[in-house]
Symmetry: C2
Subunit: 155 residues, 2 copies
Amino acid sequence: MSKVDHVPFSTTIHVRDTCLCLHAQRAARALARRFDEELKPYGLTNGQFSLLMALNRPEPPPMGPVAEVLAMDQTTLTAALKPLERRGLVERKSHPKDRRMRLLALTPEGIRTLAAAVPVWRRVHGEIERSLSDPETLRSDLRALSFGPPDAGPV
Amino acid sequence: MSKVDHVPFSTTIHVRDTCLCLHAQRAARALARRFDEELKPYGLTNGQFSLLMALNRPEPPPMGPVAEVLAMDQTTLTAALKPLERRGLVERKSHPKDRRMRLLALTPEGIRTLAAAVPVWRRVHGEIERSLSDPETLRSDLRALSFGPPDAGPV
DNA sequence: GCTAAAAGAATTGATATCAATATAATTGTG
DNA sequence: CACAATTATATTGATATCAATTCTTTTAGC
């Protein structure tokens, strides 16, 4: 049939050394493990820390904007909230004007947990930043990547 | 009790705008979605593509080195292999000399699938690279991050 | 007001991820 | 050779992730 059922090893090397998706996955996994380990005494994963932090707002936000700032699917957010709600760190309340919406708020216990974890984040994040030559440019590039293809960026 | 049960909103803004872990997660999720969508016609996710590519070697590797190059936990690799093996894209064979080891090899069907997906990777990856000012520096930073804390790097 | 379209969120089903633990095989030591 | 330590992999249990679908509620057109 086809005579191209073959991928040269040089292509494998090329993809392994250049693929930004793979590089991003690897870095994300490594950073996640690092923060997960350091946050463990506080019972939080890196994702839960980011989520609690995203909910620390003057006004309880609905799910849409929170999913957007975390660049995650709304269904992922629904799932991620479950363990936090079960542990009493987060509350979901109905919007008084629009009963489709769920307003997400930290409980006092959620605020305490988040407050306790912040110093850990500061320390670990400082250590990581110091290991990089130019963190600001890296952040800017990562931001560019999270906007996705030109036609799929934020309005 | 404690009077510090509070996280100022300015801290939230700071973390949201600077956290490299969050930035990496967001970028990784966005890139994963992008590749997942483009690879869908070939029945592969971005992770499956990377894994198949990692197995495209002259000699079938055992699991350890593969998990390492992908910077993923070995148990994650075990799990990731299941659907690929079930679909007949990957084979696990016992090492003749050391029966603890599993040698991972692409099947002809796995090679065909990978070969079909490579042009998609080239196109999409090119599009992404062209949206960045300096892909090589970004890759280098991501590489630095995946090595984790100084005391946890490769020997 | 009625009804169709749209919007927000939940559920389902599949895979991904890792810590903790277990199993199996090999190696090193005496 | 016996046996403890080590190495390679698998299993378990919990959470994370997203596409497809469903459910509920609101909005728009008439």
